[in-house]
């Protein structure tokens, strides 16, 4: 908790980000490199799906980040509304496009995985459908941020929307699952097959770690840019005032 409050000072936060980013970037690239090598040269083909199982190594991490991103936004929204943490709305605002991108990647890779597997580019199974709704929730958040000019009001409005969405997500997931069992009683579409071959787990975990580090890296840089953007805006207002008063 003390870390969170100590990070509340934007200047201190910025200096931490500046120190951490180069190191984090190096680590991310390294882990991505290892993950990709393992995925392409070490991982064996699945006995059922063949080589297409390799898509899992990017689909699963992306889907995980899609949910992780929204959870982060939900926690940050609580920070904005309840504790009024000064950086909470910055965290929420910058996480949205990143989370939306990974949601999009999850949908696209899921679709490309599905075509060789069961012959169609899209299927309304519970997981893909929930992921699509999640993308819509992200887009709504981004749209709301764009629509409201004053950052304070925008931050609080987006926080309310994010929490309403967060409460609704389990209900949506439940209803989509229920809807799915109604319409597809016989077939069970499971993304990874009923069990994942242990030999596939290592590349998967490495990629999960690499993607998560990538998310954190991009998020921190984005937060820095947003904090600087607000400072620039404040300074530009001072500049305008000075010009107006004829300095």
């Amino acid at each position: 908790m003390a870390t969170v409050t100590s990070l509340a000072n934007p200047t201190r936060f910025l200096s931490i980000v500046d120190a951490v980013v180069p190191f984090l970037a190096g680590l991310t690239v390294l882990l991505l490199g290892i993950g990709l090598y393992l995925s392409f040269f070490v991982a064996p083909p699945d006995y059922q799906q063949g080589e297409t199982v390799k898509i899992m190594f990017i689909h699963v991490p992306s889907a995980w980040l899609a949910m992780f991103g929204y959870m982060l936004i939900a926690v940050a929204s609580l920070g904005t509304l309840i504790w009024r943490h000064p950086l909470a709305d910055v965290a929420a605002k910058t996480a949205a496009p990143i989370g939306a991108t990974f949601t999009f990647i999850a949908l696209v890779t899921g679709s490309l995985w599905g075509k060789p597997m069961w012959g169609t580019y899209w299927v309304w199974d519970a997981r893909l459908t929930s992921m699509l709704v999640l993308l819509l929730l992200y887009l709504g958040l981004i749209a709301l941020w764009q629509a409201i000019e004053e950052p304070g009001r925008a931050g609080r409005a987006a926080a309310i929307l994010a929490l309403v969405g967060a409460i609704n997500i389990p209900i949506i997931k439940f209803s989509v699952d229920w809807w799915n069992t109604l319409h597809q009683p016989a077939s069970v579409f499971r993304m990874g097959g009923s069990t994942i071959d242990p030999a596939l787990l290592t590349p998967l975990f490495v990629m999960m770690g690499a993607f998560t580090l990538l998310f954190v890296l991009l998020h921190l840089i984005s937060m820095r840019a947003e904090i600087l953007r607000r400072r620039v805006h404040a300074l530009q207002q001072i500049e305008v005032q000075r010009a107006g008063s004829g300095r």
Binding site: T52, I55, T101, L112, S222, R229, E239
Partner: protein, 63 residues
């Protein structure tokens, strides 16, 4: 090179699209970051400082 089976095109497409999406995201974030830092540096060159920096200057002058 690598034998990715009969559905290789899907595997390549998935990895390629992922790469492109992440690249676009990364580049836009980095460009934005650079732009903000440059604009801020330029404003500070023009002598427009933040309240905290101006306060430090003022307190320095008083001494």
């Amino acid at each position: 090179m690598l034998n990715l089976g009969p559905h290789a095109i899907f595997i390549w497409a998935a990895y390629a699209l992922t790469f492109v999406a992440i690249a676009i995201l990364t580049v836009s974030i980095l460009v934005d970051d650079r732009q903000q830092r440059e604009t801020l540096a330029e404003l500070e060159r023009k002598g427009i400082k933040r309240r905290s920096a101006r306060a430090k200057l003022a307190s320095g002058k008083k001494k």
